[in-house]
């Protein structure tokens, strides 16, 4: 099978990709763009490590064909900070030291960002429910949930 050309927006910049029909978005991001913040965990949609935003919604890059992303707007962890300033979610994760090995950190941050875009003031139950598909094998959930709630509070104060 031959590569085909697609056009899309990646972290706010226009991109032209040459991709195979059976190529996964996850592989294009990591091996063509060298954006390795998006992790390859289980590869079958059960761990959440490859979570990115596609057209504003969280999606699993391991279950997304790159060729189907023609015209899409994709955001990865590398595109979250703006003009050298970390996103509130990133600041909150730092504040809570919400990582142990760090493997799930990118996906937890991207997922928390998606949650706060949908629901700026979630309860703890809503945070836990939204992050249900993102696994932390160090089991560091308590600080991750605290960080998500902190980020919501930081953004509430910013807009107040």
């Amino acid at each position: 099978m031959d590569k085909k050309t697609i056009h899309l927006t990646l972290n706010g910049e226009a991109r032209e990709w040459r991709v195979y029909p059976n190529e996964l978005l996850l592989n294009t991001l990591r091996e063509q763009e060298f954006l390795t913040g998006t992790k390859y965990g289980c590869g079958i949609g059960e761990c959440g490590a490859c979570t990115v935003h596609v057209n504003g919604a969280p999606r699993l890059a391991c279950l997304t064909l790159a060729l189907a992303c023609e015209g899409a707007d994709i955001l990865t962890i590398e595109g979250l900070a703006r003009d050298g300033k970390l996103d509130a979610v990133q600041e909150a994760f730092l504040g809570q030291s919400a990582f142990q090995c760090g493997f799930c950190t990118s996906d937890m941050i991207m997922m928390t960002r998606a949650l706060l875009n949908e629901n700026p003031q979630p309860t703890e139950t809503q945070v836990r429910d939204y992050l249900r598909g993102n696994l932390c094998r160090c089991t560091g959930y308590a600080s991750i949930v605290r960080a998500a709630l902190d980020a919501a509070e930081m953004e509430r104060q910013e807009t107040a």
Binding site: R59, L60, L63, T64, L65, L67, A68, R132
Partner: protein, 286 residues
């Protein structure tokens, strides 16, 4: 991963043309949350995938001739948001425990039906709600009861040249004297495959059960209506004795298997428990 060609038609006629070869090596692709996993595990070996996400005719939720029509490519996430779908409580509850938000954004209702897993989360609610399914091919459309669509594990009445077009949900569920509910029993709260799932739809008339439908997931080769249990209850008083008997019969009607998640015996016992609980829950909320 196996090499394949990816077609991305933008209209329904183009998609049907692409399928018209009537060839098992061509497969429609919805959200990809089942098919791409199967591809990587080499459980399916298609030469051509026909991606449906750009086909506008397959999307959208609308009220049509008194029922609510949901296009096959509608993602599961829509069931949690769309005002026309929230009255279908059993389906709404199934969507809220369906995998996780990333999978719900990609996975579609047509895909969940087409995959025809005995444990598919939306299938018992759709059966309990008496959904109809529309199939479309180059030669036209046909509509059948969803109950007639499932033939066995991953086997359906869809011909290779057909696409799932839409599901239709009858409007009567909206009336105040009916109620539906759903419960999924898994080994953990998140991302679990059902051990047992139970959906119930119930219509009340005074102290009697005017009509009832009970559907069971993960306890038979296909999602199953417990029709003999329904017969026990239909037109009868809502009583402890009738409820017990219906739950006992529902457990006898299914044919669960032993696997790594649970034993057949446990599953059958849980069908009894949750059939009864769902009937009570539906009744108490009327």
């Amino acid at each position: 991963m196996r090499e394949f060609e990816l077609l991305q038609p933008k209209t329904l006629p183009d998609a049907l043309d692409a399928l018209a070869q009537n060839d098992a090596a061509r497969r429609p692709l919805g959200g990809g949350t089942d098919l791409l996993v199967d591809l990587r595990a080499k459980r399916v070996q298609p030469d051509v995938l026909i991606a449906l996400q750009k086909v506008n005719e397959l999307r959208g939720v609308a009220r049509v001739n008194g029922h609510v029509r949901v296009g096959a490519s509608t993602p599961i996430a829509e069931f949690l948001k769309h005002p026309l779908l929230t009255p279908y409580r059993a389906l709404h509850q199934a969507a809220s425990v369906f995998a996780n938000p990333m999978i719900r954004n990609a996975g579609t209702i047509g895909g969940n039906i087409g995959s025809a897993s005995p444990a598919g989360d939306t299938l018992p609610p759709l059966l309990a709600l008496d959904a109809q399914i529309e199939l479309v091919s180059a030669s036209g459309t046909r509509t059948l009861a969803l109950d007639d669509f499932f033939l066995g594990p991953r086997k359906t009445a869809r011909n290779a040249n057909e696409l799932i077009y839409a599901i239709q949900l009858p409007a009567k569920e909206n009336s105040s004297a009916t109620r539906s509910c759903f419960y999924k029993l898994g080994l953990r709260q998140a991302d679990a495959i059902s051990l047992v799932s139970v959906a119930v739809w119930l219509a009340r008339e005074g102290e009697k059960i005017r009509d009832v439908r009970i559907a069971l997931g993960a306890v038979a080769p296909r999602p199953l209506r417990a029709k003999r249990a329904e017969e026990i209850l239909r037109g009868q008083i809502f009583s402890e004795t009738n409820l017990k008997e219906a739950a006992r019969i529902a457990a006898a009607e299914c044919s669960p298997i032993d696997d790594l998640r649970a034993s057949a015996k446990y599953r059958r016992r849980m069908v009894n428990v949750y059939t009864r609980r769902m009937l009570e829950q539906a009744w108490q909320n009327l």
